[in-house]
């Protein structure tokens, strides 16, 4: 949350960007645009108290920019696009698979988001399936659809959904992804064991072991909370279709704990005060976006009904629960750790109850979809997060045996309708037994989890904190070479410093004599 003090400072940053040899042209252009935005002050309402909290690293806006002019996450209603076409883009409703694929690819180009790329590309299997006539031809076309996506939307916050019904298109997508080893899109199976066939679910596990996609989401849980359809966007964010999220800021819970005098001070003073400051800050950004910029009056997405203001929500994020609980336990002179000790986990739950209550106490003028409240979001982490674990996750290196791990996670997932998830590297023993992973996932869902993924411990593609990268791309980027995917920049600290590659491997190595 940098505020420039002089023109020279701005100029230096411009020059640094232009001269950075590991950035591609597009990455530089996007960086310059963000820089220009940040020359403006924060919107009115970002008071000094908030800026102090930002300085202390307690509140963080994820470099979202000072003056938002489009929502952070946009989830267009693709069904409507296919029914009505888009007059602005001069696209008629598609009639063939070629029409459908090109309609989507053209449309994606025009969907804004915080990453400059679409973070939600729809339920791609259900969108394409009705147009398939010839399977061999469809395979070829879908292959090139996915290649085009991967090479032009170079950022794995771009998220596609498949399922819950098994379709031919879904099967083709899985087959093709296995071969292509693409980073984009991030893919999620909307999984409902009552609807999704067992063989398709097993195929999803096997595909994950080959290319870290798709992740599994607890479809029934989301459907109940959203009272119908929802989309999974960006990392793993559940959001309303035909809407999205205005903004996302986050608390570093551990830093609040570190400045508290006692557990009581944390619960009664520090945490509520910080939440109050952050909700106010978020509201000021949303107000600026809605009332001082023109997205919600002029964008063709709004005019054509593909998104609407009342289906956007504010996302209240948090990280660092693990370290927060441990710090508070220390203040109480108790030797309990988050994850392994029940008392520590119960404190975590009490903290979540308080956060939920305080966040719900704030009534937003916006966020209609969620009854004018902000949704909680377990954020996956960002740069400068060393010593702060993602969301409410157990820190890497302290993972529990898988059942206990999932049961612990299950205590927390219910608080985060707008996204939370856990990722598990498995060893080769899964390859002959994908059903085993499915059994474990179902146990996780039965324990209250909402989003789970697996990948092969020794594969090139891995899920970092929510998004995918190739280890080989990171290696190249570490050596100062250009890589097309933006996400590699974000993954650099996560992998180089925070130890994502050291997650506890599951399978035979987790269990065997």
């Amino acid at each position: 949350m940098n505020v420039y003090q002089s023109l020279e400072e701005v100029q230096k940053e411009v020059l640094d960007l232009i001269q950075n040899k590991s950035l591609t042209y597009e990455q530089q252009t996007f960086g310059l645009a963000k820089l220009a935005e940040n020359v403006l002050p924060y919107p009115e309402g970002a008071d000094e108290e908030l800026m102090e909290l930002a300085q202390e690293g307690i509140v963080c806006d994820l470099h979202e920019g000072h003056a938002p002019y489009a929502p952070r996450y946009v989830l267009p209603d693709y069904d409507l696009l296919f029914r009505k076409g888009s007059p602005f883009l001069r696209l008629d409703p598609p009639k063939t698979l070629t029409d459908a694929i090109h309609t989507l690819l053209i449309f994606y180009h025009h969907v804004p988001s915080i990453t400059r790329f679409p973070v939600y590309i729809g339920r791609i299997d259900q969108l394409l399936n009705p147009f398939i006539e010839d399977e061999a031809q469809a395979r070829e076309q879908i292959k090139w659809f996915l290649i085009q996506l991967d090479r032009t939307v170079d950022d794995s916050f771009c998220h596609g959904n498949i399922g819950p019904q098994e379709t031919l298109a879904g099967n083709i997508i899985l087959d093709v992804l296995k071969d292509l080893q693409n980073v984009t899109p991030n893919l999620t199976l909307l999984y409902d064991p009552k609807i999704t066939s067992n063989s398709f679910a097993q195929k999803c596990v096997s595909t994950s072991m080959a290319c870290a996609n798709p992740a599994f989401v607890n479809d029934q849980m989301f459907r109940e909370e959203f009272q119908g359809d929802y989309g999974i966007a960006s990392c793993y964010n559940g959001l309303p279709i035909g809407g999205g999220a205005f903004t996302l800021s986050r608390l570093r819970l551990n830093k609040i704990a570190l400045k508290s005098q006692s557990l009581e001070d944390f619960m009664t003073n520090q945490l509520p005060a910080t939440i109050h400051a952050m909700t106010g800050f978020m509201e000021s950004k949303i107000r600026f976006l809605v009332e001082e910029t023109h997205f919600f009056t002029e964008s063709f997405l709004v005019k054509e009904g593909l998104v609407s203001l009342e289906r956007f929500v504010g996302l209240f994020g948090l990280v660092g629960m693990h370290e927060c609980v441990n710090a508070l336990m220390k203040l109480e002179n108790k030797d309990y750790s988050y994850g392994k000790d029940q008392e520590a986990n119960e404190l975590g739950v009490a903290i979540m109850d308080l956060i939920q209550k305080e966040v719900d106490a704030f009534e937003s003028k916006y966020s209609d979809f969620w009854n004018h409240r902000y949704m909680l979001h377990a954020q996956v982490g960002a740069d400068q997060d060393l010593g702060t674990s993602a969301g409410v996750r157990i820190a890497i290196g302290h993972e529990l045996p898988i059942y206990e791990h999932m049961q612990q996670a299950g205590m927390f997932h219910k608080y985060f309708p707008s996204g939370i998830g856990d990722h598990f590297p498995f060893d080769h023993t899964v390859l002959n037994n994908p059903q085993a992973v499915l059994d474990i996932f179902e146990g996780g869902f039965a324990s209250g989890m909402r989003y789970i993924s697996c990948y092969a411990e020794d594969g090139d593609l891995i899920r970092v904190t929510g998004y995918l990268i190739k280890k080989s791309d990171l290696q190249a980027y570490n050596q100062g070479k250009q890589v097309s995917y933006d996400t590699v920049q974000y993954a650099q600290e996560a992998l180089n410093t925070y130890g994502v590659l050291n997650r506890k491997v599951r399978g035979e190595s987790d269990a065997r004599r």
Binding site: N432, N433, I440, E442, G443, R512, R513
Partner: protein, 235 residues
């Protein structure tokens, strides 16, 4: 009721279909040279005894995550009375019951156990009697009869053979297992070919070697030709 147990593994991906809790019983009536956990062969000691209720408690905790349980060893079937009682309870929990066995007990004489068991994973260490005697200290008459019997009642889930270079006639075993089960191979009986691994093996036999990976592939092709459809080569 007490069972003598070497170890319980809460999550196993390699002991039958899906994710399973595997219970390794103490004590074996074979003494295979290549045994990779020879500590489970001796009858053990009372410190390893577990109450049935204790074992069930552990399984109950794992219930949401598992498809079923697998009893292994040692040779689990030697403690069949305990296993019958265990399987009766796990069935009530909606779990499937699998047995990993050396096939030395005549299962056709254990109808209660056989009834409660969903699938057997049977080690056929060698079809040749002499080799079997040399390797395990016991003959293989009952083992081979069990293979047929279990296949005939549709409960032979998998046959397993450990392959050792030079010491065993691997090819003969695969061939003869195929012949023995010929009329049942319409069922999805799996064949797992396991290359010998020195890990855990007693010093006297640790120098044994596994067939080359090309040889393993050839054995797999042979099993395929015999009519097995699902063949895995363990790593």
């Amino acid at each position: 009721m007490l069972g003598r147990i070497n170890q319980i593994i809460d999550s196993s991906l390699v002991d039958g279909p899906g994710n399973r809790t595997a219970i390794f019983f103490q004590g074996c009536n074979f003494n295979c040279h290549y045994c990779h956990n020879p500590e489970t062969i001796s009858p053990g000691n009372p410190k390893q005894d577990m109450e049935l209720s204790e074992v069930l408690e552990r399984i109950k905790r794992n219930r949401p995550f598992i498809k079923g349980i697998t009893v292994s060893g040692g040779e689990c079937s030697l403690q069949y009375a305990f296993i019958e009682a265990l399987f009766l309870e796990t069935k009530k929990m909606g779990l499937s019951n699998f047995i990993d066995t050396n096939g030395s007990l005549p299962f056709w004489e254990l109808p209660v156990l056989t009834e409660l068991t969903d699938g057997f994973m049977l080690d056929v260490k060698a079809t040749d009697v002499k080799s079997h005697l040399l390797l395990t200290g016991k003959d293989n008459k009952v083992v081979l009869k069990n293979a047929e019997f279990l296949a005939s009642i549709g409960k032979l889930y998998e046959v397993r053979t450990v392959m050792v270079k030079d010491e065993l006639n691997n090819q003969k075993t695969v061939e003869e297992v195929g012949d023995l089960l010929q009329e049942y191979l319409g069922q999805p009986i799996r064949y797992k070919l396991i290359p010998f691994r020195p890990h855990g093996v007693r010093t006297a036999y640790r120098h044994w070697e596994s067939p080359s990976s090309e040889k393993m592939e050839r054995l797999k092709d042979l099993a395929l030709a015999k009519g097995f459809e699902q063949i895995t080569v363990a790593s």
